[in-house]
Symmetry: D2
Subunit: 319 residues, 4 copies
């Protein structure tokens, strides 16, 4: 909403909530006060679809599959932020331990790898961790150069949602680093699906952490390379792969979260550990923007033939 309310080509028609039906948006989101008089509404997806050109569905996995088909029936475009349409059905069912009620053709909405998003009706907006992790390794993966990879990600706690929990309780999170789902995080499946598409032989490991920050994911990708390669060659591979990708910024130094906070950029930098033939790639995104809503709007722009960057080309708020 923060981004759409100032997007020059978009109007928010309605915002749904069952719990908050009738409440002004700005009660929940005080920073939006003065930008909208809208209230949350508890209305039927069909009703929503009638009024809009595109609907963003941001519901728990397992719920989107109930709503998305009904929206598509109304010929509206759908950008789904849940996990329901990100994976092949069999993989989804295994990873989420859930039967898929309504499989549909969807494009994985990482536009830097999937330009065909422009022609899609249903976009499966990527998970936050996969966005930063896939972008860090895709150029090398596309060259078949990676033997084994370890993605060690550090996320701000906003990724855990707006609901207070024991982990997000300030006294627990402050001054802490919390590793979790060391070997079993479901986002690993997206990594394997997308990088595996580029090179099916890569060995992929993924471990997430939360750090005492609100926004941002820093992914440290430890990529063990098959053959000796110098850093200039690697630089050229990344530059070529991300040519004309306005939200990818290749740095000569090491990215940090401040430089992307509140923005749709993915900053990428790397360094070679020749003795171990290990390339360390670091990517930084704002998990709530490039890792979620900003990327969804980037997808919207592409679907409607707008400039990819419309409404999104604003610098990070730093410091």
């Amino acid at each position: 909403m923060r981004l759409l309310l100032v997007h020059p080509q978009a109007d928010i028609i309605c915002i749904t909530s069952r719990q908050k039906d009738g409440e002004p948006i700005s009660n929940t989101h005080p920073h939006l006060r003065g930008f909208t008089e809208l209230k949350f509404k508890n209305i039927d997806p069909g009703e929503v679809a009638k009024q809009c050109d595109v609907v963003f569905t941001a519901v728990p996995h397992g719920t989107a599959m109930d709503i998305v088909p009904r929206l598509l029936d109304h010929k509206v475009k759908v950008i789904d932020l849940s996990a329901d349409y990100r994976l092949p059905v069999d993989v989804f069912e295994q990873v989420y331990n859930l039967a898929h009620k309504a499989p549909k053709n969807a494009v994985y909405g990482l536009p830097e790898l999937h330009p065909e998003v422009a022609d899609s009706t249903l976009v499966a907006n990527p998970g936050c961790y996969p966005t930063g992790a896939i972008l860090s390794a895709a150029p090398l993966a596309s060259q078949g150069m990676i033997e084994l990879s370890v993605f060690d990600s550090k996320s701000g706690i906003s990724g855990a949602g707006a609901q207070p929990t024991v982990v997000s309780h300030y006294p627990n999170m402050s001054q802490n680093v919390q590793a979790y789902k060391l070997t079993t995080h479901r986002h690993g499946a997206e990594l394997r699906s997308e990088l595996g598409r580029l090179d099916s032989s890569i060995k992929i490991s993924f471990t997430p952490h939360v750090v005492p920050s609100v926004r941002g994911i820093l992914t440290t990708a430890h990529l063990f390379i098959k053959e000796d390669i110098d850093i200039d060659q690697i630089t050229r591979i990344y530059q070529t792969f991300y040519k004309d990708k306005p939200f990818i910024r290749l740095l000569s130094g090491i990215p940090s979260l401040g430089a992307v906070r509140g923005s749709n950029f993915c900053d990428i930098g790397f360094e070679m550990d020749a003795s171990n033939r290990r390339l360390v790639v670091v990517s930084a995104i704002d998990n709530l923007v490039k890792g979620a809503s900003g990327q969804a709007i980037q997808n919207m722009n592409l679907i409607f033939g707008l400039n990819e960057t419309t409404g999104l080309m604003t610098p990070a708020v730093f410091p």
Copy 2:
């Protein structure tokens, strides 16, 4: 720069620095990478003035008085972010313990109180603390209702500048609250000057603190009122005073820093302690935006006949 680079009516022509002469802006400000190819330049104020319609001077107090007159000689508008032109000369000299070399007529650039900023040539952009404190009390002060006032302000550490110091050292600032200059902070003089203009009899006390936050100032104004008054009357006084002021948001609840972070808003809320005849007013600003650069651009807009909100009407980045 963050705000000007996306301002629809402004172009940044040059950015000066002696120390960083020749360095790309984005080395120092990595979040601006991709938004400008400009480099810092060490050039003479006269040279700057020739190329621009308006110059923002952001130099230490005592230095602005060397530069501002030379800029004004070139008929350029000047918005000065130092303290040099904020106070009557005699007050300035006493508070800053410094002879003023070049007094000039300037307008105190708090547009909500000084609409004449639109016709000015030299704007003295207010200090960060005074902005939030004056705005919290001005409506009542203008009615002559305040007997005694205590402004207790809590600021993010960015107000102390970009230079690392013992206070801004992360291990010292983290988990800390640091009161400082308990009775002697120079911004007190701005408070006394501006509120004193509205009501010369108010007793004014001011104490600043830094808290473990980067941006934002929350001011708790304890205003002891001369006569009994009910909260509805107070509400009407504030509503009338701030009618048609787009960056003042009067809340029925209590403001917090998140709702203004990165934005030019000043949120204000209050509550009456009838037994002590104490009105507690809380104001929240982003010290780097409404408390500094955003307000400077608001002043620029007014000087050049643009809509006051041009380039500034964006919501806070929250959470």
Copy 3:
């Protein structure tokens, strides 16, 4: 528990909980792993009393009055950390809007002001805010020198308890300062009760805030003095009042939270604003130690004739 487990003269006999009955303490408190094999037990207060010399009751206000009398019946000493016994009954009933079921004689457990705690059977351990606020002003209040006072307190969020809430949710608390109960916080009544005992004519205002810190309360006391007085006289008054009080440290500078974190100290410093006849006193405590459990143990030491500092004379963990 952290303090008692290494207290040389105390043994923890049992720890009660209904919800966690049977669970090891270290599940909830991982930092205590290796220090105790105790499990939470859901047992009757009478059973507890039979096994112990002293019981610390840390239950919500309104609940303590059910438990404390039953403990006292067993001739056990009780140190109650709730609000139930801190105020005169009529004041309690009005402030907490609750009929008191079981009034008892209790000593207000601020040992620096109440040495008679040593002879008491029931100690009402003070609230966290009142501890720091009363200690900041008591010496002057005892001299009848204060005309009007404003206590503006900044607390770490741990004071809000272990239960996750919207306010304690990391994305909401981080980078924020939240003023709350601007004029109505119940701890104000303790301030008025205790300082009023020293000087019934003081006008007392109190406003609390939470800041992005886990532990600590910094109180800025703005004390308007009746007559001119120089800072040396004030210093002597404080030194005399707090002579031989091992946990009060009078500083020549300004206290900060880091220096008391994890410890039972109350650091106090001050500065005079002669033009307003305002003394600004700053006190710093750890709200969980001197503001709660540490003070409770200090009271226990006194009751049992131990040295007041036993088990408590450890420096803060800083940085």
Copy 4:
């Protein structure tokens, strides 16, 4: 000093500083106020040695080699917290790019792996990162089971020292994660030296990060195992290896920094990613205690025949 001042068997005789000669300790370390009247002294190492049984040298690498030999000449025990005596001389000279002026026999002061520290004259106290990283992997390394390892460490910023820098500047560190020396951090050499001693064939990679926390290092060790092994076997290996090591706590869950903050513990937990034959081990230490001063005191205890835990068996300060 915080730990030694309350150590029952140690007295601090003198504390040296050239810069702060004559200043009370508590000016620099306000939390120690009331615990010592000592002042910093600028005195010769020989003078120090005459008065003490043991000297802790905490000077930059390259400087210790000037001081340590002079201390040893006086038959005093030395615990050196610099890097000068941690590595074989040839490795040291290469890694630190520095000729070693005064090689000496020293024991690497990680007591869990080097019980011979008890008989040593010179202890090379380990680096903060190596302490947590080595302890996470040593049991498996000692069994020759590790093929390839990636140590991805997240440190609080206190590890960077007390001197304010651009990185430790609060606005830069807050809400950030900063990867640095991605492939070249010198502590990697300690890892390779110590784990290589246990199994010379392990491939070792190490990348450090700073996170917005003051204290603590969480190390995520991604250990690729040579052969299939179940988690119970691994658990037994760790339990056996760390039997009777009072500061190692093996958890069934995942360690976090809060549970070790301010304490000398190293908490360790792990989980198996069978599909990649990757064991993820997480270790948590306080970098200033087990990663530095606490471990130094642990070594002191062993050298002087005290119980290893004397003065160190206190729980973390949490939350």
